[in-house]
Symmetry: C3
Amino acid sequence: MIQNAHLALGVCDYPEHVPRNRWASYAAQQRALGLSYVRIAEFAWSRMEPRPGEYDWAWLDEAIEVYAAAGLNVVLCTPTAAPPAWLVQQHPDILPHSAGGCPKQFGARRHYDFCSPVFREHSARITRVMAERYGQHPAVVGWQTDNEFGWGDTTHSYSPAAAAGFRAWLQARYGTPEALNEAWGNVFWSMEYTDWAQIGLPNGVVASDPSPSHLLDFFRFSSDMVVEFQEAQVATLRECSPGRWVTHNYMGFFSAFDHYKASACLDFASWDSYPTGTLEALHEWGLGSEDLAVRYARTGHPDVTGFNHDLYRGVTGRPLWVMEQQCGQVNWAPYNPLPADGAVQLWTAQAWAHGADVVSYFRWRAATMAQEVMHSGLLRHDETPDRGHTEVQGLDLSQFPAGDVNARVALLHDYESLWIYNAQKQSAEINYWAQTFLYYRTLRSLGVDVDIVHPDGDLSGYALVVAPALTLVTPERAAHLGEVAQRVPVVFGPRTAFRTPSGRAHEDGQFGPLSGLVGARLLNYDSLRPGMAQRLTGLDGSPHEAARWAEGYRVQDGAVLSQYIGGPLDGQAAAVRRGNVTVIGAHSEGLVREVLTALLEGVGLSPVFLPEGVRLSKRGDVTLVQNWTASPIRWNGLDLPPVGFQVLTPVAEPLPA
Amino acid sequence: MIQNAHLALGVCDYPEHVPRNRWASYAAQQRALGLSYVRIAEFAWSRMEPRPGEYDWAWLDEAIEVYAAAGLNVVLCTPTAAPPAWLVQQHPDILPHSAGGCPKQFGARRHYDFCSPVFREHSARITRVMAERYGQHPAVVGWQTDNEFGWGDTTHSYSPAAAAGFRAWLQARYGTPEALNEAWGNVFWSMEYTDWAQIGLPNGVVASDPSPSHLLDFFRFSSDMVVEFQEAQVATLRECSPGRWVTHNYMGFFSAFDHYKASACLDFASWDSYPTGTLEALHEWGLGSEDLAVRYARTGHPDVTGFNHDLYRGVTGRPLWVMEQQCGQVNWAPYNPLPADGAVQLWTAQAWAHGADVVSYFRWRAATMAQEVMHSGLLRHDETPDRGHTEVQGLDLSQFPAGDVNARVALLHDYESLWIYNAQKQSAEINYWAQTFLYYRTLRSLGVDVDIVHPDGDLSGYALVVAPALTLVTPERAAHLGEVAQRVPVVFGPRTAFRTPSGRAHEDGQFGPLSGLVGARLLNYDSLRPGMAQRLTGLDGSPHEAARWAEGYRVQDGAVLSQYIGGPLDGQAAAVRRGNVTVIGAHSEGLVREVLTALLEGVGLSPVFLPEGVRLSKRGDVTLVQNWTASPIRWNGLDLPPVGFQVLTPVAEPLPA
Amino acid sequence: MIQNAHLALGVCDYPEHVPRNRWASYAAQQRALGLSYVRIAEFAWSRMEPRPGEYDWAWLDEAIEVYAAAGLNVVLCTPTAAPPAWLVQQHPDILPHSAGGCPKQFGARRHYDFCSPVFREHSARITRVMAERYGQHPAVVGWQTDNEFGWGDTTHSYSPAAAAGFRAWLQARYGTPEALNEAWGNVFWSMEYTDWAQIGLPNGVVASDPSPSHLLDFFRFSSDMVVEFQEAQVATLRECSPGRWVTHNYMGFFSAFDHYKASACLDFASWDSYPTGTLEALHEWGLGSEDLAVRYARTGHPDVTGFNHDLYRGVTGRPLWVMEQQCGQVNWAPYNPLPADGAVQLWTAQAWAHGADVVSYFRWRAATMAQEVMHSGLLRHDETPDRGHTEVQGLDLSQFPAGDVNARVALLHDYESLWIYNAQKQSAEINYWAQTFLYYRTLRSLGVDVDIVHPDGDLSGYALVVAPALTLVTPERAAHLGEVAQRVPVVFGPRTAFRTPSGRAHEDGQFGPLSGLVGARLLNYDSLRPGMAQRLTGLDGSPHEAARWAEGYRVQDGAVLSQYIGGPLDGQAAAVRRGNVTVIGAHSEGLVREVLTALLEGVGLSPVFLPEGVRLSKRGDVTLVQNWTASPIRWNGLDLPPVGFQVLTPVAEPLPA
């Protein structure tokens, strides 16, 4: 629905935060900077409806006119992420409840429960009146629903409303308590229910040790509540604002709802990209290391940002927006360093190369009040242009033409597998994202573009399919993957097909319904603590090491690609191949790299061994060569500036072989 | 009551977890593997009584018949560790309360409050109906009450029922609030009560800083509730199941109730031995080190396992059972490595040598559902024999004959001392177990067997008595120890006799009623932070260091064995001897080792300096020489395989001098 | 009001903790030790009023007589820090509430809510009856109100009473919700209120992320509640006990109320000095390092103790008392090492040199009961003199004459700046105290005495004014500082004048109302994670490094003193001078030291480069040279014993140049 010839830019602005006498000047400056889009009205419910049923649109009418007059396209947000105080006062039961069982109070944002019928009514109401007023305004080109679903751990609410909703959801899913008992395996520890009313939420149980099946269904239910909430707003916007697109701005790596389901009703997905903050968070999740956190402190890690671009492009299969793009320091990580010189341009270019049609900076002027005082904007608190402003000014957008990302490698990702994997990680050092990211990072380090797609989606266009952590596999999914494997190589990681849809282990063991395809059976998995490693053979004989996780197989109908050396797994297969299908049981950077390299070569995708911090991303027929390090790098005849990039067009500068 | 000629084996099985068509096959396989016992019906309340008062025994009748037909002896469990959902629905007040004051919810296990009169009724009822039905079944040889009392921090409940019970218990103990005030020293901070109703539980006070006397009595009360609960079930089982033994399966190092009192009504004690998981936990408690955790990751530490065998043999003074023996990876520690090859055999052999008559593996087949999916069994999820199965198959049980553990060294252990010690540790690096374990480990490293016994018990059979952390000493206890010291050497560790029975300090200082016996007085204690050490003289002049804790004495009537060099304790005695009594004030591996070595030699117990990871354990006249390291060790003419052992019988292979 | 010719000593005693037959003997021993003051009756409410309205004064009458007879001056405490159980039983709503929303229970101390009208009545009542009885007793020389306001995190209560009080306080401050909304910037995230009843306390909001303005006003309100509580007691004591002084014993670095406001009604301030425990706490706050914690484990750090002496002398501008002085090990830090030999004397001497007229040791005899059993006193549990007793005995008080501390350097400190700084630290490694302490420690390492004073106070007597972290600056404050700068050099640290009084950022950016004075504007701030450093030029060209925080400036009307080299701040000014005013934006030990050294030289204060652990403090014309290390140090012709000091009087021993 967006038809710019090349990358366009935008900004998030909050006219209600500044005096009206600034509006025209800000809009003019934005246009002068080359911005085309302005996102407004997010969190502005208390200004739209200062008291119950009393609407005040004058300020927003005027703001839209001012932006329109300056030539900016306006993106409007439904304001539901910040319900006003009077609504909470009227209906305190709209508040979400923490895992400790207490209501989360008014005083920040997202203080609503997706399960609250009352809040859903008010969400529908404010969406409708807003859409009716502005839905056909010529300057309004699209909508963002709400903001950052789930921020502040608000996807999972432990309220009475959530408990009631969960019971109804279970009843609809299972029909009888007996069926639920069987699905969850509730005979274990006498957890069998005889009455729906006996079923609680999974918080607060003894030893904080609920059944993984209980957790899995609670996560599914909570995700469905988000999806329903999104769908209701989108339906209203479609009705009242024809011809405009609708999106939502997701958060990086956010795991608490199924972004595929939540995106089915959108025109495209957006996300909020904060590379330095996300790197710190990564470090905290055990995905990174102290060394990595220092090395990439001022840029973030290329594959962390790249992963999320590819992820949110993949949830709809269409180009995405970066709805909020960091353009200076953030304020929410344990440490919040300034970005390096060039980082804002680099982030913008990478976003484009990974499929972003629009990059919209957060925010115009740094907030002089409240929770985000320490966060940067394009303007400083004193309204002077900040460093990010200068970088945006220096961007030549014509070098970023529209086009498709034509990735030939599919990396399969599935929220249900994520939930059940992380419900029983079996090690403090491994989790779904860490395992998935190893494969993604390896592929990127080999210079290939990657689509991140749902395992049940259309995989017909790919030359290689990589499924790092597909632990939940149904017979239907197995059949689908079997068809894919008839055509192209498929790679599976550890724990593949360990789980049934209800979170049990397959009665016939791993690989359950994939057993025939894989040609091997699981013998043992090993949780390696820090300080332990498991040796294994490489493809060419030189040994590798596994860390964090290793599982060994017995081959039934295939070939051993790698086997463990020494330790309890000695002699078991670490990787097995049967026809097009390879399964890798070891969390081994070296082995994963070797296997993927060989497969890429086999399908003609020509892997390239990139130096640390160098990345290639291709959109249409233009290649972006990036240097994420603080030093200049000469690579393959190219001089890459520190924290910078070169754009290679097919005619002018062919990529060296 | 068990009269096997040698070690027997068993397994924990859950027929209700698998289809009935598996039962006969499983039982036959168990028998073929050489197992004699099968423990069943644990956690099966929801299958025994699916709805209030509606019993279903058909499945259990059949299961018992199937096992019996295969020649297995059946151990039955009362199912009270997992009350069914309908009971919680009827009586939500049976739930235990967390220290935060909230009920712990249904959804795992042990969701009952030992203080709940309602739950005690239901416990009595289900125990009776079960015992009446199966108590005289010929295949049923014994009973396990409940399961793992206190798991999930459920010994201490902070419920209204607990508060009411605690007040009644205090009233019975003290008679008047004035007497309680005096005992606790409540004049301090004006904590005096004038009415029983004013007394709360010790949770939730300002700064989480309750009086240690308040804590001590709450811990005593909570322990008594467990004991009463156990006694009630045992009485019913004795009545309805004559000729069968009764036991309970304790947990390693579990501290929240007095296992001596809880065992008084049992025939013998059992415990659940998970060496790798317990090692990780040890590491978390500050007892171990990162290095230790890596070195013994695949076997656990010999003395950790050994300590608990000796502890639970000691609580009744009779041979024990290992009711649940790890036979593969566990699922509940931060890291859960696979056991080394040979570890299951080594654990089994060590258990026998420390007095286990039966070792019963947990569990037959790995659970395919719920909380323990990741935990191993003798069979894998797919019913193939797992590594532990193979090891069990290789065991020659005839080399493990019945017999007594004839330890000549008694290590004194007292839960009341533990509670009051840990209530005011005075250092993040020291605690009751760490101090006790230092002495135990040292004794084991010197090749001697140890009984762990209650300080007020019969000590007449021992050549050496070691009391590492006996901080609570009454005049009666002092008199008893004085009598012992007339006969044999007695060693005391730091903080000995610092406390009165109500948790105050003795008015005449340490060593209170032991002062005359010890011949010294406490001058100062020092809490050494990491990075600090206190030097002291050794017996032969070469210096040692104390870490974590050091206390210095003034000698009144005895001899200085060691004194501090430098620092605030310079010149104070670090160890004192008066006649048969030695007190060691320094937490010093070197000094403890020297003193114990000399005393063992003095009483003719011939200490042996064992290499790291080598251990000796003797049962009857058979000695088990163990190698807990991953490398073969040649020691004293013996070739010890890695993670393996040799059995030395007196005639065939005398232990080298 | 105290007119001793030299330092006097005292002790905290609790006659109610020991039998009456000890009283006379204890008092005689105290006098013999050279003590002049005894502080009693703290926490003794349950003995004064055993039951509601039934007073028992006999014991206290007698105790006062005994001390008086021995020649001791008696300091009485109001007993309100420990309300008796019967009062809590009658009025459970006097309990303070935790941030989790639960009442903190009876069972320790300080279990009262400053906001409770009921408790305020009882506080007034018990204060009056006590003051009426003893206010004119000839042995009673002064009063301590309550004890350690805020201990156990009790300044901030989240009770219904606090919520009601907060709303009333806000209404009085702002008049209308609209004014409050504007002050806090509540348009952000739609946080606008339309009704006072909508306003809650800042706990429990989503993501624990309340508005900093919300926090700031809640902290102000809570502080005011403490001040009102103090003022009410003081007014009663003034009325009933004429001619006696009144003080309160504060805690080191305690931040939760404004000690200037709380001290306005006092004659002088006191504090409780526990050097070893405070060092451990420091380490936990990220202010210290593991290395520092080990090095000063047995003495505490000189500047930590010195800072608090100077702070609490400054809150009234008059000599202070150390009401509780550590004289052996404490019991409340993670590690509680014994003080080094000499430490008690060194602490006492330092306290005197920093303005203490009286040092009163805590406590006479170590408690044999309850929460403080492990804490030392001058006597051991067994009533023998402990190490601290010996050191006190060795003190020659005549070497510590009365006199003024004539510091010429003022370090500005402001609780409102502290609160708003720490509400949004922007880095886990920096906070208000860490930033302030860097400047204090540097000044002390240069041998100069420091007054710590409120920025709005009289600064006319100083030759140099240092404002390390004055982030909240109003126009009035700016004007005041401008006047000061016309006369003497003024140094500002990072974040100066970033905030408005309601916690917003200045609309014209940093330095807001100070911009003209400073002659520079903030360009960027940078949060440096561990492992990152920012280079900068020093005054003489040799480079320094900034850690934790760096902010860069654009000079408008001044000179660049230092500028950043490399990194995102490359070329920006790191320090700027305009006339008498210097602002330092880098958290750089090296740069701060250079700038302060030059300024001290410029104003003729002759900085001295002291070795590690050596400190100079001057009172009147006597200089105390201290060695806080464990080794003897020869410095400038002086032989300083380890953990010891020399007193230099102007005639006898002039300080070497």
